[in-house]
């Protein structure tokens, strides 16, 4: 018996080793394009390849000297912030509705609240373009904001709903019993409890809007966002400027995501939530 288990252990080691190698290869595949974009953004060659050319900041300089890039960046930032705030507000409302109420047609309500990200962006882009130009809202920053909120609100809702499910369901009725109105309970109990998720949702939806290019490409008209600008670079003569923009956007998005992560991991969480986590 011990001999068999010894053999199994041996075989185990080979299999484990092979699987570890596989994991490393898989992550190499996932991170190769990200790393290459970072490395080549500092490389002088116009047609990037190996061996590497000289270290150079010329692509960053070229990007910084392009007024259209600055305009795109401004658009992206303004749109991202508005989308983040609106999506989080709408998402919060939907999450709270799902948490607290039962009503007829709730399934439909939830489907509306969660479905939009599963529709291919190209179809959503076309539908938005056709519809918004019909009601005279296309080709402006507001068009991108409207469309991005449709896609982003479900993410905000999911994040905040998750946090609400960690809350003791007796907490809210307890506040009512102590004489607090529904509004006061919302302000002093629910919102403080969900605060980390609210900020998490804010940053995540901002990051999603920051990277979205397809719907924005359809509806933005001349108010191009930065990702639409990148799409333009891809369509035109290929240029390592994409790498410079990509690296900048990556750093910005990651900052938002890590902020969200720190908030969501719940350093500010009430002790109650940690007991819920353990269950």
């Amino acid at each position: 018996m011990s001999q068999i288990s010894g053999q199994e252990l041996n075989r185990n080691r080979v299999v484990d080793w092979a699987l570890m190698v596989y994991i490393v290869l898989a992550y190499a595949f996932v991170f190769a394009p990200i790393a290459a974009s970072f490395v080549f953004s500092f490389n002088s060659d116009r047609f990037p390849s190996i061996p590497l050319g000289d270290f150079s900041l010329e692509w960053y300089r070229a990007v910084a000297a392009d007024p259209l890039v600055w305009q795109g960046l401004t658009n992206t930032l303004v749109i991202g912030v508005v989308v983040g705030v609106v999506s989080t507000a709408l998402g919060f409302g939907a999450a709270y509705t799902d948490y607290r109420y039962k009503f007829m047609g709730k399934q439909v309500y939830l489907a509306l609240a969660l479905l939009p990200p599963t529709i291919p962006v190209i179809i959503l882009g076309l539908a938005m373009l056709a519809y918004l130009s019909r009601i005279d809202l296309s080709g402006r920053a507001i068009s991108v904001i409207i469309s991005h909120v449709v896609v982003c609100a479900p993410f905000a809702m999911a994040i905040i709903r998750l946090r609400l499910s960690q809350m003791d369901p007796a907490l809210e009725p307890a506040a009512w019993n102590l004489g607090a109105s529904e509004w006061a309970t919302m302000r002093h109990v629910i919102i403080p409890f969900t605060k980390p998720a609210i900020f998490g949702a804010l940053f995540i939806t901002m990051a999603v809007s920051f990277d979205e290019f397809a719907v924005a490409w359809f509806v933005s008209g001349l108010n191009e966002t930065l990702p639409v600008k990148v799409l333009g670079f891809l369509q035109g003569q290929v240029s390592p400027r994409i790498n410079a923009i990509g690296t900048f956007v990556f750093v910005t998005s990651m900052t938002l995501v890590i902020l969200a992560q720190i908030l969501l991991s719940g350093r500010t969480a009430a002790p109650r939530s940690s007991t819920v986590d353990k269950e």
Binding site: A36, L112, P120, I242
Partner: protein, 281 residues
Amino acid sequence: MQRHVSLYGLTFSLPLLIWQLLFFVFPLAFLVALSFWTVKNFAMRPDFDTVNWVTMFSRPVFWQAYGTTFALAGGAALLTSVLAFPCSYAIAFKLSDTARRWAVFLMVIPFFTSYLVRVYSWQIFLSDNGIFNVMLGWIGLGPFGMLNTVGATMVGYLTLSFPLVVLLQLFSLVFIDRTLIEAAHNMRCGRLRTVFEVVIPSARVGLTIAALFCFILTFGDFVSPVYLGGGDPTTLSILITDTTKSGQQWPRAAVIALTMIATLLVVAFLAVRFAYKGRSK
């Protein structure tokens, strides 16, 4: 849980409902109406004419693109699932808790990098003088024309969906009852056989849903087929962008879009039914 409608409750539930009705349901419904409009002298006119449907459906180009897109998305779903599985399996069963948390965190990062930038990056790897061909040159091979091929499109599809598929597979694998696997081992069920007869059936829901998401993502993607596949063969997404961006043929683009939605609904329905088949006992 309270029953009656209050101002308080509506303040929270209505905004999202109104927003999604106005800017999600209505646009999609408008797409249906638009597909029956007519185009005269480069101007669209409200109408109820099936001409767009007839025109598109009688074009061999459309059906070719349809077949291509379906085959590519199906192939991508299969390939990504197969390639992702050993990775998710290893993360789920071979890593410590800490390492697994790091693995998940790292797999989330790609979602917050620009897909466009990553596709451009693959061009650097795959082009004729790109990184792969230079490396192959060192051992006296090549150069191979790797860019603008179906293989390159697949690389793009994998870039798009691999992280999501790994995460979804992982999510179902970590919830498998480990005693089932131990039981299989105790009964001298071989390692590989355990994977195929215990692990995969137990995780069927998650694995199917992962493949379904991969199908949905790649079915509608236009970036990889254009910038890695060179736009040839034409996919439905390329057809939509071409039809929309050049000229006023939005009604025809609407026909393509609606056909895609119908296809996705059917595929999603079949996938979900397969996933939960015989599970209700």
